[in-house]
């Protein structure tokens, strides 16, 4: 309990000082707002559904992109980690592509898909691919050679080796890559919406800014912080629930 009190001390002090300052001295209305006005604005937007709709749009782009990026990263990373010969051929090309920022592909993505969730997901997927791919390659390369030898000695089929040996041995580390990618996914989805795509939370913030409604803009910013925090907690919970003890354990 006291832990929560200590953690909340600074936010409460800042908000109180901010509110008092605004009430007594006044503030530039076009950039800042009263905390009370922000709460009212956020509450309204929450209840009339605009924030929730925007959140749904942002998350569909972010999650779809994250899913695609993680899948490609893991599926590509395992063979590249297992076979140095494959990495020698594919690796340099990947290294050449990696420095291109995902957002630099925005105009191209727009040409391919037009506005909408697919274009957003494409950018997110490319941004999420790299951390997952790199972490997977390194994790697979560092599996104890003995474990892979046991797979060979028992003449286990490739699929069994990957499901029962490679993935459980690397799951914890790959999950770190997935959590990094999850942070990137939300950031990229909102970036795409602010820059180009008329959808989701990013676009809602652009509208609030252009409509000179700082209270709503601040409320939306706070909301993005809250869902980002919740998303990370959700992934941490999933990691604790499924890794590393139970992946590959025989329950079937």
């Amino acid at each position: 309990m006291s832990r929560w009190l200590r953690a909340l001390a600074i936010p409460v002090a800042v908000v109180t000082a901010w509110e008092l300052w605004a009430q007594i001295f006044g503030i530039p209305y076009e950039t800042l707002s009263h905390p009370s006005a922000i709460v009212v604005s956020g509450w309204t937007a929450l209840w009339d559904g605009t924030i929730l709709t925007a959140t749904l749009q942002t998350f569909s782009g972010a999650l779809l992109g994250l899913f695609i990026g993680v899948m490609i990263g893991v599926v590509l990373g395992i063979p590249l980690g297992l076979f140095p010969a494959a990495d020698a051929v594919v690796g340099p090309s990947l290294d050449a592509l990696r420095p291109i920022p995902a957002v630099a592909l925005l105009p191209l993505a727009l040409l391919i898909f037009g506005f909408g969730v697919r274009m957003e997901a494409l950018i997110v997927a490319i941004g999420c691919l790299w951390p997952v791919l790199l972490v997977t390659i390194t994790a697979v390369r560092n599996i104890d050679a003995r474990l892979l030898e046991i797979g060979r000695l028992l003449e286990l089929p490739g699929s069994v080796r990957i499901l029962r040996i490679v993935l459980p041995a690397t799951g914890g580390r790959i999950f770190v890559g997935i959590r990094i990618a999850a942070g990137i996914s939300l950031a990229l989805a909102i970036t795409v919406e602010i820059a180009l795509n008329p959808n989701g939370l990013g676009y809602a913030m652009v509208l609030a800014s252009q409509g000179l409604d700082p209270a709503l803009l601040w409320a939306e910013l706070l909301w993005v912080g809250i869902i980002g925090w919740a998303f990370n907690r959700l992934l941490l919970g999933a990691e604790r629930r499924w890794l590393p003890a139970t992946i590959g354990a025989v329950h079937a």
Binding site: D144, R146, L147, E149, I150, R152, L153, L154, E155, L156, P157, V160, R164, I165, P168, A169, P244, A245, T246, I247, G248, A249, V250, A252
Partner: protein, 284 residues
């Protein structure tokens, strides 16, 4: 120069027979299950070329318990990896059951010294033992029953639901042996399996493995750097020398079975073998 020493009852009588003659006699009696001819393993090129094993001619008879001793760096682990199919020779042939070994196979099981690395830490003990069944379409229930039957044989039936990390070293090594038995091998390749265990556990497992091998009529190739262990366990002991790894001597051990930790080790033949091999290994 390769020599073969045979000891018969009644005292340390060294009969020196050229190996070629001895193996010719053996071959006429029984087809070897494992045979190497002119095997040479080398790594590197040119100046850096290093010969690890040279002119290895070994025949292993079916059902035989063959021990290979040698100082560290003599290539005994390399030799075992050749038998397992994890490594292919630079020159020469390695035949299993008359066919060249081209890679690992389930009929040849390998027991590693470092049991902790050889078990999957995220699988329970019984699921580790059941790992070889993953390629068969065996129902879950049956896998579990079969794994537990082997665990019971190894005296571990109460530990099936633990994780390997929760077990002592000796128990983990028993789990690894149980998993090797689950693959129903025709030959057990053991790489200093008891080297990391305390003396009492080691002796218990020595007697255990002797019984298991006899019971299942499994051929065993057992690598150790412990002379006494080699003589105590083996029907035959091959001593390797270093630089490059090569056969220094072959000794037939005709100590009666079942052997006993105290009386066998005090037997005059046992001591004679020990003196003889000790002289060979240390004298080099």
């Amino acid at each position: 120069m390769q020599t073969s020493y045979a000891l018969s009852g009644g005292g340390p009588i060294h009969e020196q027979i050229p190996l070629s003659t001895a193996s010719a006699t053996l071959a006429s009696l029984q087809q070897p299950i494992l045979r190497t001819r002119g095997v040479r393993v080398a790594i590197g090129h040119g100046q850096d070329r290093l010969v690890i094993l040279d002119s290895m001619d070994i025949d292993v008879k079916p059902g035989e318990f063959l021990c290979i001793v040698g100082p560290s760096g003599c290539g005994k682990t390399t030799l075992l990896r050749l038998f397992a199919g994890l490594l292919l020779p630079t020159e020469g042939t390695v035949l299993f059951d008359g066919r060249p070994i081209t890679g690992p196979a389930r009929e040849r099981a390998m027991v590693f010294q470092d049991y902790a690395r050889a078990l999957l830490p995220w699988r329970t003990v019984w699921a580790n033992v059941a790992l070889p069944y993953e390629r068969e379409h065996v129902p879950h229930r049956e896998r579990r029953d079969r794994a537990y039957a082997l665990l019971e044989r190894m005296g571990l039936k109460d530990f099936g639901d633990y994780y390997p990390g929760q077990l002592s070293g000796g128990m983990q090594q028993r789990v690894q042996i149980a998993r090797c038995l689950a693959q129903e091998p025709r030959i057990l390749l053991m790489d200093e399996p008891f080297g990391a265990l305390d003396a009492l556990t080691r002796q218990a497992l020595q007697d255990e493995i002797t019984r298991l091998a006899a019971e299942r009529e499994t051929t065993v190739v057992f690598i150790t750097h412990d002379l006494e262990e080699a003589i105590y366990l083996g029907d035959r002991v091959i001593a390797l020398g270093t630089k490059p790894g090569r056969i220094v001597a072959t000794v037939d051990v005709r100590l009666v079975r079942p052997r006993h930790q105290l009386s066998t080790r005090e037997d005059s033949q046992f001591l004679a073998h020990r003196h003889h091999l000790f002289g060979l290994l240390v004298g080099h």
